[in-house]
Each structure stands twice: as C-alpha cells, then as structure tokens.
C-alpha cells in the first residue's frame, strides 16, 4: 500500500494547478479561434443608403434606422410667374361658393417671417358643393385623350 506523504500531496497539487492554467489558456485560445472562424463565415453588412433613382431624393433604410436622412430638397430653380392668365377665369369666379365653416384661421403674418401675405379676393371653394361638378366630369378609367400641349398642367389636390 502506497504511503501518501506531504511531499507527494504538494507535488499533486502543483500538477493540478499547472493543468488548470493550461485548460484556461486553451479555452481562451479556442474561443478566439472559433470567434474568428464564425466572423469569417458570417460577415456582417454595413447599412447603406439605397441607390438613387433618377437623381432624386432617397430614403432611410428603416423606420428605426439611425441613418441621417437628407432634408427635403428645394428646387434647382424657383417657379417663375407666368404672364398667361386663363381667359375664362372670370367665369369660374362666379361659380365659387363661400368658404367652408372652418373657424381656426389665425393671423398668418406672425408665423411666416419670410412670407408674403396676400388677401385672395376670390372666395375659396366650399368643398362640399365644389365636389360634385368635377366628379361628374371625370372621364371613365379607360378613356384617354390627347391633351392640348399649350394649356397649363393643373396642379391641385387629389
């Protein structure tokens, strides 16, 4: 039967400490190796702004994106006044109704330092009554016609 002396006990403890150190060092090394291998196998992707379409403004990548969006871009040239006034404008004015019962109109000047404020002397259309006429004149969906190229193109609510 083997006799356990103090010397053999200390030697065994020393070997255990060495083994523990090697295990710790090995695990750290393997962690690094596996991390590198995983990073190489599944590379991350940098969020990029989408391709521009026709030189026009673009959008951020997502609703929660941290991408700084561009500002709404002003036009290269501001619109110019047109000297051409439709001939039949006076006729249309006679068809105008009173303003809709909106009661929230504030004084505009105090909110628009750079703004020019005018009083539009023709009354604004009453929405409810003005709706019927355009609707009845709306062409059928499949109808098509040649537009008069000299006439202004109308920009209005839709």
């Amino acid at each position: 039967m083997r006799i356990h002396t103090t010397h053999t006990r200390d030697a065994a403890l020393y070997q255990l400490r060495r083994a523990n150190r090697w295990l710790i060092a090995g695990s750290v090394l393997l962690t690094g190796v596996f991390t590198e291998a995983a990073a190489s196998a599944f590379p991350g992707k940098t969020t990029k702004a989408p391709a521009r379409h026709g030189g026009r403004a673009t959008a951020p990548s997502s609703g929660s994106s941290t991408t700084t969006p561009k500002q709404l871009a002003p036009p290269a040239q501001t619109p110019q006044a047109s000297s051409e006034t439709p001939d039949s404008e006076a006729q249309s004015h006679g068809q105008e109704g009173p303003p809709a019962p909106e009661s929230q109109t504030p004084a505009q000047e105090s909110h628009a330092p750079e703004a020019q404020t005018h009083q539009e002397s023709q009354a604004p259309s009453q929405p409810e009554s003005s709706q019927a006429a355009p609707e009845s004149s709306t062409p059928a969906p499949e109808q098509s016609h040649e537009a008069a190229p000299e006439a202004p193109v109308v920009s209005g609510g839709s």
Binding site: P75, A76, A115, H118, S121, H145, P149, E150
Partner: protein, 341 residues
C-alpha cells in the same frame, strides 16, 4: 432645363386615367409621345400593383393582411415604403404611412370615387379618432433582405407619397424612353425630367387637379423638379354623418382641421414637394415658417381666402378677383390683385 430645348408650342401631350386619378403627360418632342406614354403606363401599372391599398391583388394589401409578421416585399414596394418612412422622418411624423387604419375608420376603405359624396349642407366637424396609431417608428424595413414588418393591427397607406413618387419615376421613364423632356402629372402632382421648354412648363395651381386651367389659382412656370399640391378641399366624402377628407393628422387619427385648405410646394422632386405640402396642411399655423426654413417655395391658401407665399414662390400677379367677382358670402372681392399684408 436645357438650353435650346423646344418651346411649349412644339410639345405634345396626352391625358388618361390610372391609379384612380388623372394622368397628364407632356413631352417636348411630339414624335416621342407614343414611346413616352408606353413608358409611363408601364411604370404606373407596376406601382399600382405594388402600392394600391384598394386592390386585392396588390403587394401592399398582402402586406397589410400579414401585419405582425415579417413579410418579403418587392424592391418597388420596399422603395415606396422607404420613401414614406423618409417623409415621416423629415416631417417629424406629420406625414405618417401608418395612418391606413385611421383612413379606413374614416370610411376611406375603397377607391374614393365609390364613397358617398359629401352633402351640400355645412359639414359637422369630424370627431373620428383611430384606435391604432403606432406611428412610423413601428415599421421595420430591411432593404438588404427585402422584408417589412409592421405591428399587428397596423395598415400602411402610401397615398401621401406614392403618387408623387410615381410621377417622378414616370417622368424619368418618359424622358428616357422618348429621349426628350417630359412632364408627368399624377393626380395633380407634377414631375419634370429632361430638358423642358425654353420658358419652362406652364403650371396652374388650384384647389382641385380635375379643374380646368381657368380655375381660380395661379399660373407659374416650372423648369425642373416637381410641384405638388395637397388640399383638404377635395377628395371629401361622407361617413357616419360627418364629412371626411383624406389628410389625416397622425397625432389625432382624425382628418386635419387647420387654417390651410390648399398648399402647393415646389421641390427638387415631386415626392419631396408632396411630402412638404401634406406636412404643411398637418402642421397648420407653423407651416409657412417651416417651409421657408427649408427653402421650399410654397403657396398656402387659407380657408378665409388669405394667401401666403414663401421661399421665392412668385407673388400672385394676376387679378385675384376677376375684376370684382362676388364671393359666396355676398362680399364683393376687390379686383385689384394681391394685397400685401
């Protein structure tokens, strides 16, 4: 605008219906009209199939039906959603694509031409308030993977940006196909591409895009970019005894009630112009200063007849009242033109 381009007199044009609204195409080279129109029709058909809220077979309808799950979408719809989210970012949420459910609660659940028209009597104020208003931040768009995730119960509506974006794309397509300058108007939202007429394209801004060019408003000339007009005076319908319109305030879920009835904005693109015009209606009293700070030329027409122009939008130089037209309330409008405040 390029130099040496044809004048407006040599331009050609066509008009038809698509996307549930009126389409106008103008090109500087008449011989290119057919090719340009084919390009526009193709572009609009693709966008309609991707972005329509009223088509059962559209991608957007399927996406809304799949709310709560991550859904794969086409690059076209992803771009449209991205643009809508960009509009929300740049307007501080004034233009929010997640108001689809609020619009449905307001009765706008089909093509608006099928809705009950508003009555002629004074309309009571809409008191509608949507129950689900999560806001645009709840939308997760992954452009790399081509997926979109919206919370359950949320419906996207791209109406505030998709038509103007369609006009931009269609104008680019027309100019490329025709090798000429092109103007495309989609429901009154106007985009310009390529070299235009020497003096610019003539545009009439007014309340309703279906009006003819004699409608009260202002004539301007535009050389590039886009012009968009948003109005609460049109696209109105009656729902549960109240008159509704399609511009929703995302903060309340109800149709906007503000000082402006119609706002027109010029920008580098029609999409940007439309985002700004819609945001101005929602923003209300602060809109002129907000537009001016962004150097966006704009014209704001108020319900009481006041008119504000900002950032270089030309002053109204034509007789406003047509020589003293009688307004609806019996007051005689002065015919001397604009009155500076």
């Amino acid at each position: 605008m390029g130099t040496g381009a044809p004048t407006g007199a040599s331009a050609a044009g066509a008009a038809w219906e698509a996307l549930g609204t009126g389409i106008v195409l103008r090109v500087t080279a008449p011989a290119s009209l057919a090719a340009a129109r084919a390009a526009v029709e193709g572009e609009l058909a693709a966008i309609d199939l991707a972005c329509s809220r009223f088509r059962a077979d559209s991608e957007l309808t399927r996406l809304n039906a799949a709310a709560g799950r991550r859904t794969r979408v086409s690059p076209l719809l992803a771009e449209a959603i991205e643009l809508a989210l960009r509009g929300a970012v740049l307007t501080g949420g004034d233009v929010d694509p997640t108001v689809g459910r609020a619009l449905e609660l307001a009765g706008y659940d089909r093509d608006w031409q099928l809705l009950e028209p508003p009555g002629s009597e004074p309309a009571p104020a809409p008191v509608l308030r949507a129950r689900v208003l999560p806001g645009w931040r709840a939308v997760a768009l992954d452009r790399e993977r081509g997926t979109v995730s919206i919370p359950a119960g949320v419906h996207l509506d791209l109406g505030a940006s998709a038509k103007a974006w369609a006009a931009d794309r269609a104008a680019d397509a027309a100019a490329s196909a025709g090798g000429c300058g092109a103007l495309v108007a989609v429901g009154g939202d106007i985009a310009i591409a390529g070299p235009g007429p020497a003096a610019g394209w003539q545009v009439r801004v007014t309340d309703d895009h279906r009006s003819d060019a004699s409608a009260p408003g202002q004539s301007i000339r535009v050389a590039s970019g886009g012009v968009a007009t948003s109005s609460t005076a049109v696209r109105r319908w009656r729902h549960e005894g109240a008159t509704m319109h399609h511009i929703i305030d995302p903060r309340t879920g109800a149709p906007v009630r503000g000082p402006w009835r119609t706002v027109s904005v010029a920008a580098a693109s029609c999409a940007d112009a439309n985002i700004a015009a819609t945001a101005a209606l929602v923003r209300g009293e602060d809109a002129p200063a907000w537009l001016a700070s962004r150097l966006l030329p704009a014209r704001l027409a108020g319900w009481r007849g006041e008119l504000v122009t900002v950032a270089g939008w030309p002053a109204q130089d034509e007789p406003l009242g047509g020589g003293g037209a009688v307004a609806g309330d019996g007051a005689v409008a002065g015919g001397g033109g604009a009155v500076a405040a």
